[in-house]
């Protein structure tokens, strides 16, 4: 296959940036999208040009480091996968693929396709934990938890913090991320002692970081690589309303 990557290039946070088109030959449909960028980067280095900066680590959909707007969708055209799991068979020979960084005021571009997602870290630092004295681990069944709650908490905990929810939301809202993080504790007994401060503090930090609020369009749920459900936003809303009013 021959494809053209139309990539956002921006040398640093304060430069304006623009799109540059790169034709790439010798692409096979079994290559991953990232292998194509690797191939292009090798060529750019040989030509003495700056390679394209993009975040990636595990390249198997578990770390959440990668996050690129590929061909008009967060993490590319497939559902339930990260950018590193996109393969060239999802595109057609001769296609021009637009490649952009996440766009949100709270996620400023650092360079090219890499954005600063430390706003998520600050949200986590404001309540995404439980305070316990670490000792030896307790007996596995000391605290019984129903299968339903355990499953739902696990689904929420599957969030890898990639930011696709923010990137695909017209309001750049982080409610799916925060909803998942609030839910994973709200569903379990270990989360109860700090539940009230947790939801109040995490939502306050989310608002301060400049994320928008939710219009319930559902774009986040559709684009989330871990298919985190809107139910978790509903649960966070309930927790927040309860914590605020009572």
């Amino acid at each position: 296959m021959q494809i053209t990557l139309k990539v956002w290039r921006q040398s640093d946070a304060n430069s304006p940036g623009d799109f540059v088109s790169y034709p790439v030959d010798n692409v096979t449909e079994d290559m991953s999208f990232f292998e194509v960028i690797d191939m292009l980067n090798d060529e750019l280095v040989l030509r003495g040009e700056e390679p394209i900066a993009f975040d990636h680590d595990c390249r198997e959909g578990i770390c959440g480091t990668c996050g690129i707007f590929i061909d008009g969708r967060a993490h590319g055209p497939l559902q339930g996968v990260t950018s590193c799991q996109v393969h060239m068979r999802s595109f057609t020979d001769g296609q021009e693929i637009v490649v952009e960084p996440w766009r949100a005021r709270a996620f400023p571009v650092i360079k090219d396709l890499a954005v600063d997602r430390t706003a998520f870290d600050r949200i986590m630092a404001s309540g995404g934990y439980i305070s316990v004295n670490t000792g030896s681990s307790v007996d596995a069944n000391a605290t019984p938890i129903s299968k339903h709650d355990a499953d739902e908490a696990f689904d929420a905990a599957a969030c890898i913090g990639c930011g696709a929810c923010v990137a695909s939301c017209k309001n750049a809202s982080a409610m799916l991320f925060v909803g998942a993080k609030v839910s994973q504790y709200a569903l379990l007994p270990q989360g109860q002692p700090e539940s009230k401060e947790r939801v109040l503090n995490m939502v306050a930090t989310m608002d301060d970081e400049g994320f928008g609020s939710c219009t319930n369009t559902g774009a986040c749920e559709s684009e989330c690589p871990k298919e985190i459900s809107l139910e978790h936003i509903a649960r966070m809303n309930r927790e927040f309303i309860k914590a605020s009013l009572g």
Binding site: F69, T215, N216, T217, N237, I241
Partner: protein, 222 residues
């Protein structure tokens, strides 16, 4: 009261206000359409109905004040959210296939809402003003159907028609969205909410629209 203020200024607080006021406005639509359908019964019945309402003047005034508060909160908060959310979005994408992940009605709440606001201003400045301030010599039916500020005026009829279609669009997303905002869970109650939603986004706007079409475009008053 500081907790209340910080609740109202939080993202979820603002959403809760939108959802509460939005659903109350939906309730008002039911009452309003009920009265309007009497137009089909002819001038005597309709004029009599409006005159009877006048007998409850103090009550009507209280309801009006409540409505102003509800509408005011919905509009001010809605426009505030629209501005804040626009700012949060930052630079737009060169290519964004939004239709793959969300419905047009959910993405255009501020636009459909703004047209409704325009309609509301015209509606109050003409019909409400004539009914409540001028009293119109009891000829309420004629005001509604006439060519002065009523549906006999092509501009008014078109504006009203467009507004009712867009209200359906606003509520197609808005009604069910309000329940999600309250944290009433989709999966468990989704089917019921969806069914009731049809009443608000389809049947009620269609009821209002039928009046616009009958009296505005089919000469129903003659």
């Amino acid at each position: 009261m500081s907790w209340f203020k910080s609740f109202l200024n939080s993202s979820i607080g603002k959403k809760t206000v939108m959802a509460t006021t939005g659903l109350l406005l939906c309730l008002y639509l039911v009452v309003h359409l009920g009265g309007n359908l009497l137009l089909y019964a002819g001038p005597d019945v309709f004029n009599g109905y409006v005159k009877n309402l006048t007998a409850f003047k103090p009550l009507i005034r209280v309801i009006e004040v409540v409505l102003v508060i509800i509408f005011g909160a919905h509009i001010v908060n809605g426009l505030r959210l629209a501005i804040e959310n626009k700012k949060a979005g930052g630079t737009s994408y060169q290519l964004n296939r939004k239709n793959e992940n969300s419905t047009p009605s959910s993405r255009t709440m501020a636009i459909t809402g703004s047209v409704l606001l325009l309609f509301l201003i015209v509606h109050l400045a003409t019909i409400w003003y004539n009914f409540q301030i001028e009293h119109s010599g009891g000829q309420f039916f004629n005001i509604i159907t006439g060519s002065d500020v009523g549906l006999g005026n092509m501009f008014i009829a078109v504006l009203y028609g467009v507004a009712m279609v867009l209200m359906g669009f606003h509520l197609k997303h808005g009604f069910q969205s309000a329940f999600q905002t309250f944290g009433i869970r989709f999966n468990r109650h989704g089917k019921l909410i969806e069914m009731v939603s049809i009443l608000f986004w389809l049947i009620i706007p269609a009821g209002f629209l039928s009046i616009v079409i009958y009296f505005g475009f089919m000469g129903g008053a003659n």
